[in-house]
């Protein structure tokens, strides 16, 4: 498709014997905010690096704005912003110098935005980078990526060292950036509640594969916890289609179901003569349930 921001097709990556990314196909459209979730070592950073062309795929293809990630022309690269897990700041520079260096690479640098954010985020532009705290370095890395007003913004654990206030300011700015519907954001984070606010699509990476790739809303609708009550023998006989876990006690059972449809509530009731209460789950609980 011509206007896909990122497109991957049967993308795989192995390091020696270890297959870290396993046959992934995906598409990112303008306006989407994708939350990338996965346990440590699930392959999140590798996937982001493949997209950005930092490492070649073992097989399959990945492209950004229609160009193979490995060979992005300069003008395309300048539309991509990246906040790496390990920052790439130059210790000997001051914050102001570092901003100027990066600004000089871009024709469309938004100096006004950066000036405002430095003020609002309490970034001391006179400070030398080697004297910054981890959180301050992270803020600066984010500013460097925001300044170019990227059409694709990739963030790898951008907020791990930010305090709650700074995280909220960052999220608000991210909303502003994505509000015009023309930019795509992909961000990985272990702070599930941030992803839950910001993302409209969720990718759950598990053993190198996308265990879920779709709307956050449909994810919440399709994975629920059921509380089933009734006579002991009725509950003992209940079979729950799509259950990924099922715990029974006398007269009571709890099940987590994948692929839930509201009609199932009535059919379970009717078939087994039990009461069924449906509990919606937050993203964090869904993530935990998918990794049991």
């Amino acid at each position: 498709m011509a206007d896909a921001t990122v497109q991957g097709s049967h993308l795989s990556k192995s390091f020696g014997e270890r297959r870290v990314i396993d046959d992934l196909s995906f598409e990112v459209a303008p306006g989407e905010v994708i939350g990338l979730l996965g346990k440590n070592g699930a392959g999140k950073t590798t996937l982001l690096e493949l997209m950005l062309g930092f490492t070649p795929p073992t097989s399959g293809t990945v492209s950004v704005f229609g160009h193979p990630s490995q060979r992005l022309p300069g003008p395309v690269k300048s539309r991509v912003g990246f906040v790496p897990q390990q920052d790439e700041l130059l210790d000997q520079l001051t914050v102001a110098d570092q901003l100027r260096v990066i600004e000089s690479f871009y024709a469309h640098w938004d100096a006004e935005l950066i000036e405002r954010l430095c003020r609002e985020w309490n970034v001391n532009t006179a400070a030398r980078i080697k004297n910054l705290s981890v959180g301050e370095r992270q803020k600066l890395s984010i500013l460097l990526a925001f300044g170019q007003r990227p059409h694709l913004l990739v963030l790898d654990e951008p907020v791990a060292s930010l305090d709650p206030l700074a995280r909220r300011q960052f999220l608000e700015q991210l909303v502003e950036i994505s509000a015009d519907g023309e930019r795509a954001v992909i961000f990985s984070s272990h702070i599930v509640s941030d992803i839950e606010r910001l993302a409209n699509r969720i990718w759950i990476l598990k053993n190198g594969r996308l265990d879920w790739q779709g709307d956050l809303d449909s994810l919440k609708d399709s994975i629920v916890r059921l509380h089933i009550r009734g006579a002991a023998e009725a509950v003992a006989g209940v079979e729950v289609p799509g259950a990924i876990s099922l715990r029974r006690e006398a007269g009571f059972a709890t099940a987590v179901v994948r692929g839930w449809k509201p009609e199932l509530q009535h059919s379970l009731r009717a078939v087994h003569a039990v009461t069924v209460e449906v509990e919606s789950l937050g993203l964090e609980e869904i993530f935990l349930e998918l990794h049991r």
Binding site: V33, V175, E176, E196, R197, L198, R229, T275, E284
Partner: protein, 123 residues
């Protein structure tokens, strides 16, 4: 104006739908009242703008909200009673289900429950 809880299992757009519907049904949001823009609401709550616009579009399709060129969305102009009984009942249905379930767990009879509701109603 709205209470949005991203961590709840209920999708954000649905929280917004329910609240607007309730506020319109109760008259808290009168016909012609302006809603915050998608951008305002998204930034204020730090939630995804597409989630907010999805809720607004669904409410527009329901005829509850009206889109105005270059101006904020407004509550559609129509008599309050036009909110059909069936729709209003539909909105309270989840609460009814929950109450009935709790009553059964407490081994209350239908009559006990109806009596309790009636007493509350008359208060």
């Amino acid at each position: 104006m709205f209470v949005l809880k991203p961590q709840s299992g209920i999708p954000i757009y649905r929280q917004l739908l329910d609240q607007v519907r309730r506020m319109v049904a109760s008259g808290q949001l009168a016909p012609g009242a302006e809603l915050p823009s998608v951008r305002e609401l998204a930034i204020q709550h730090a939630v995804n703008p597409m989630t907010v616009s999805k809720a607004y579009s669904l409410l527009e399709a329901e005829g509850l909200l009206e889109r105005n060129r270059g101006r904020p969305m407004t509550v559609a102009n129509r008599p309050k009673n036009a909110t059909q009984l069936s729709r209003r009942l539909q909105q309270i249905q989840p609460l009814v289900e929950q109450t009935v379930l709790a009553a059964k767990q407490l081994e209350l009879s239908e009559a006990d429950l109806l009596k309790a509701i009636r007493e509350n109603w008359e208060e």
